[in-house]
Symmetry: C2
Amino acid sequence: MFSKLKKLLIGKSLTTDQLKHEKFSVLWGLPVLSSDAISSVAYAGEEILWVLIPVIGVMSYKYMFYAALCIVFLLFLLVFSYRQTIDNYPLGGGSYIVSKDNLGTIPSLTAAAALCIDYILTVAVSTSAGTAAITSAIPVLLNYKVIITLIIITLLTIGNLRGLKDSAKLFGVPTYLFMVTVAILIITGVIRHFIFNYNPAPIIPIEPVNPLNSITLVLFLRAFASGCTALTGVEAVSDGIPNFKAPAQKHAKIVLGLLAVTVLFIFGGLSYLSTIYHAVPSEKYTVIAQIGWQVFGNNNIMFYALQATTAMILIMAANTAFADFPLLLSFISRDGFAPKQFTKRGNRLSFSNGIIMLYTAAAILIILFKGDTHLLMPLYAVGVFISFTLSQTGMFTKWIKGKQSGWRHKAFINGLGAFVTFVTVVIIGITKFVHGAWLVFILIPTFVIVMMRIRRHYGKVAEQLKLPLNIRPKDITPSEDKQHVVILVDTLNRSFLKALNYAKTISSNIVAFHVSVDTDATEKLKKKWEDYNVGVPLVIKRSPYRDIYEPLVNFIDSEEHDSQPGDIVTVVLTQFVITKWWHNILHNQTSLFIKNMLYKKRNIVVVTVPYIIEE
Amino acid sequence: MFSKLKKLLIGKSLTTDQLKHEKFSVLWGLPVLSSDAISSVAYAGEEILWVLIPVIGVMSYKYMFYAALCIVFLLFLLVFSYRQTIDNYPLGGGSYIVSKDNLGTIPSLTAAAALCIDYILTVAVSTSAGTAAITSAIPVLLNYKVIITLIIITLLTIGNLRGLKDSAKLFGVPTYLFMVTVAILIITGVIRHFIFNYNPAPIIPIEPVNPLNSITLVLFLRAFASGCTALTGVEAVSDGIPNFKAPAQKHAKIVLGLLAVTVLFIFGGLSYLSTIYHAVPSEKYTVIAQIGWQVFGNNNIMFYALQATTAMILIMAANTAFADFPLLLSFISRDGFAPKQFTKRGNRLSFSNGIIMLYTAAAILIILFKGDTHLLMPLYAVGVFISFTLSQTGMFTKWIKGKQSGWRHKAFINGLGAFVTFVTVVIIGITKFVHGAWLVFILIPTFVIVMMRIRRHYGKVAEQLKLPLNIRPKDITPSEDKQHVVILVDTLNRSFLKALNYAKTISSNIVAFHVSVDTDATEKLKKKWEDYNVGVPLVIKRSPYRDIYEPLVNFIDSEEHDSQPGDIVTVVLTQFVITKWWHNILHNQTSLFIKNMLYKKRNIVVVTVPYIIEE
C-alpha cells in the first residue's frame, strides 16, 4: 500500500544509466544559476526599510540608497573574487571544497555547516517571500500563509524526489519573466514620475517619528546588514561550472558578470522606486507589491504579472536549494562527515535522504516563524557571509602558498574579499545577534562537532574492518563435529520441523532448547516430544522473568553445553512469515527480539529458517 | 537509555512465582469490589437533572425521585439475578464467560465487545468525574481539566504497569471514607433542613422554563436512561469471587447485598438532598459539590473532605478498570479472539499490553470529549446494559436447558432480569441514540467482526503448522555437497572474513555474490579479491535500480547457480553490530532490508554472522 502511494507520488524507479545532465549556454545558464541571487532583491530592500522607517521615517529612503550602494560595491568585489575561484576550480568551487583544499578540516566543516544552514534558510525564506508575493496580490489568503508555504515546499519536495530534470527552460523562463516585468516596472515608474509628474499618496502612510531622531552609525550598519541578504545565492555560479557548455569557465565568468549587472539594475532600480513612491514595509503588502500598485494601479494586469513572476522566481530560488543541498550533503558524506545514506540515490536518482531532510528542516522553520520572511532574515545572512569569508580566505591562502605568476594581484583581490566579507560577518553578527543570529553561532559549532564525531566513528569502524593480506581465511573442510547447533523450540510444529531438517544438513550435533514460561505449554511440548520421537535431545530451562534470551545465552556459555569458549555456536530460529502485513500484530515478535540480542554475542551465528503461512 | 527510563518508571522485573493474590474478607471485599458501583452515584443523579431541568425546571426534583426509585428497583433485581450467577460460577462469572458457556460465540463476543467499551468508558468517565470533583472545590483549575484528567490516567497506568499490589486497604479506605463523608452529608443536610429550617438560595439559580412544559413519558424515560449509569460496576462482585476468602460464594453474596444497600442509601439520600437544596447541574460545580456547599458551607473543612473523598473513590473506580480490562483481554486472547500478546505478562507481571491499550483508548476519549463527563455518558450505559442482558440471558438459558431442581424459580428471576435489562437497553439506545449511543452500536459489531477474523487467522495458522506424527524428520547426515551457500559481499573486510570462515564450516560449495551499484567500488573489490586470493568464486551482477534483493534472488533461481528448484539455499549475510544505538543511523540498514525480503522465499535460509565493532 505504502509502496503504491510512493510510486504514485514519486514515479517509477530509474536506472543509474539514466543519470545525465543538460549543459547550459550563457543564455540559459544565467537564469538557472542566478534565480537565487536575483530573487533575493525581492526582499532585501524591504529589509533595509524595516530597520530605518520606524526610527527616522521619511529620511530612510536617502540612507536606504547609501546602504544599497555599499551592498552593490560588495557585490562587485565578490564578482571579482569569484572569477578567480572559477578559474581554479573547473569542477565547481563551493566554499566547502575551497576551504577543504586550502584551509583544512575545521574551516571546511564550518563552511559546510554554514552552507547547510543557508540552504535550509533559502528554502524557508524564499518560499515565505513567494507566499508574501501571492498574498499581497490576493490579501484574503493572508490568514493561510503558513499553509500555502508548506504546500509549496511539499510540492517542491515531491518534484525533486521525482527528480525534476535539469530543464533549463523550465527554470530559466520564470527568471527572465521576472527580469522583464521588473524592468518594465522600473522604466514605467521612472517615466510616470519624472515626465508625467505622478506623485501618488503612499499606500501605507509612514508613522510619524520623533523629529529629533537621526541616522546613527549603528542604525546605518543595521540597515546595511539587513540588506546583505541581497547577496545570497551569488556563490551558485561558481558551484555550477560543470553544468556549462565548453568553454565552461569562460561561460561561467560571463554569467557571473551578467548576474552582477542584473542585480545592480534591479536592486538599484527598486530602491530608487521605493524612494519615489514611499513604500513602507508591512505585514500585508510587500514593498514590491506597493510599488507595483502605485506604478501600474491595483487592478492592472501588470500588477498581477509582477506578483506572479515574483512568486515564481522565489519558488525557483527555493528549488535551487533542493538541488544543491543534497549534493553538498553527498560531498560531505563522501568525506565521511555525514551519514553514508546521503550518498545513496533514491529510486528516481535524486539524493532522496537529503531532500527529505531539507524539507523537514525548512518546514519546521516555517512553522516556528509562522511563515514570516522578516523574522527569518537575521538567521540568513550570517551563514552566507561566513561561507563567503571562508571561501575567500581559502583562495587567499592558495595564492600565498602557491606563489604562481601574478599571485600578489590575485591574493590582493581575494584577500580584500575575505576582509570585507569578514567585516560584514562581524557587522551582521553584532547588529542581528539578539534577533536570531545567535542561533547560527550555536548551530555551526554544534554541526562541526557532530560531523567530526561522525568521521571519528567511521574511522574506527574502517580500522576494525581492515583486512590485511596476511590474515588468511581458515583452512576448514566442513565436518559435523565442528558445528554446535542449538535449535530454539516453542511448539513442535511444521515450522520447527523445517528448521530441524535444515539444522541436520549442517551438523549432527544438535540440541533443541526450550525456555519454559508457561508450565502447561512446557508439559504439552514434553509429551509431544516423546510421542513424536524427535531424535534430538531437548533441554528445558525455566525463565522466571519470562525472558528467553538470558536462559539461552547462559545455557550456551555453561558447562552443560559442549561448546568450548571461543567456539562458534549456531542458533537456529524459526521465522513466521505472513503474507498480509497487518497480521503481524497478531503474532509475537519474540524471534525478532532474540535475534537482535543474539547479534551482540561474538560467538553466536544466527540462522533463520522462514516458514511461510499462506492465507 | 530507554530501558533505564522504563526501569525507573516501572520498577525492576518480577519473577512469575511472585504472582499471588490477597484474599478478601467481607470487610475489605465490599470497598474494593464496589468502588465502581458506589462511585457512579457521584454522577448519576446529576445526569438525571441534566435531562429534566432545562425542560421542566423546578418540577424536575419530583420526577428525579421517581426515576431514582425505578433505578433502585432495577438494582435489586440485578442483585437477585447475580446471586444466582455467583452460585454457579465460583471462579468468577463475567458476562463474557456466562454467555460463552450458555449462548455461543457471537453473543459472547458481543458481551466481550460491550465490556471492553465499558471498561474504557469507566476510565474516561470516572477520571473526568474525579477531576470535576477537584475543580468544583478549586475552580481555578477548571481550565486545566483535560490535562489533570490525563495526568490522573497516566499515574494510574504507571501504577498498574508497576503492578499495584492488590492491597485491599489501600483501595478500600477511600471507599469507606467516601461512604462515611456522604453519610454525614446526608444526615447533616436532612437535620439542618427539617430541624433548623435551613433553606438556602440555590447556588446556581434555575433558569425559568416555559410554564406549559410538563413531564412526558419520553422525557421521563430519557431521565431514567441517564440515571442508569448508577448501576455500572455492579457486575464486579460476581467477577471477583475467586478473590474472596472461603466460603467465597457466600462472602460474595453478602458483599453484593451490602453494595445494593449502600447504593440505595447514598443514591436515595443524594437525590433527596438535591430536591431539598435545589442543586442544578452545571459545567463548573458538580451537583454533589453544590449540596456539600449548601450543607457544610463553602469554606468548611467537611466540604473539602467531601470533594477529596469523591475524587478518590472515582479514581479508585477507574483503577478497577485497569485491573479488569487487561484480565478480560487475556481471557479473550486465550480463546484466540484477540492478539496473543494480551496473554503475556510484562516485567512486573501485569498484562502490560492491555494496560497500555486501555490507557491509549481512554486518553483519546478524554481528549476528544474535552474531559466532559456529561458528554461521555450516553456511550457508557448502553454497553453496560447490553452486557447485563447477555449475562442474564445466558443464565436463563442455562436453567431452561439444565432443568436442575428449582429451575423454574431461578429461570424466572434471571429471565425477568434479562427482560428488564433488555428493555433498558432499548430505552437507552433510543433516547440516547443521537447523543452518542449510535457509536456503540457501530463499535460492537465492528469489534465482533475483527475478533472473529482474528480467530480465523489463528485457526489457519494452527492448521498449517500442525505436525502429524507420520510426517517424519528427514534422515540426513551432514555432507558438504548437499549445501548451497551464497555469501553476500560488499567489501572485502574482516566482517566478510568471519562470515566466510563460518560458511566454510557448513559447506565447501560456496559462491560469493556481489551486487554492483557503484562501478568504482566494484572495481576495487575485484582487484582486492585477486590480490587477497580468497579461494571462493566471486559472481558480480550489475543492479541498474540500485537494488540488491532482486539480482540475488534472480541469480539463485537462475541456471547459473547450481542449485535445483526445491533445494534449500543458504544465504550468508554479515551484520554490523554497534554498541551505541545512535550510531546505527550512520550505517545503511541494507542487510536488514534484504533479510526481511529473503524470508519470503520458501527455499532460502538466512544465516547472519554478526561482527561487533568496539567503540
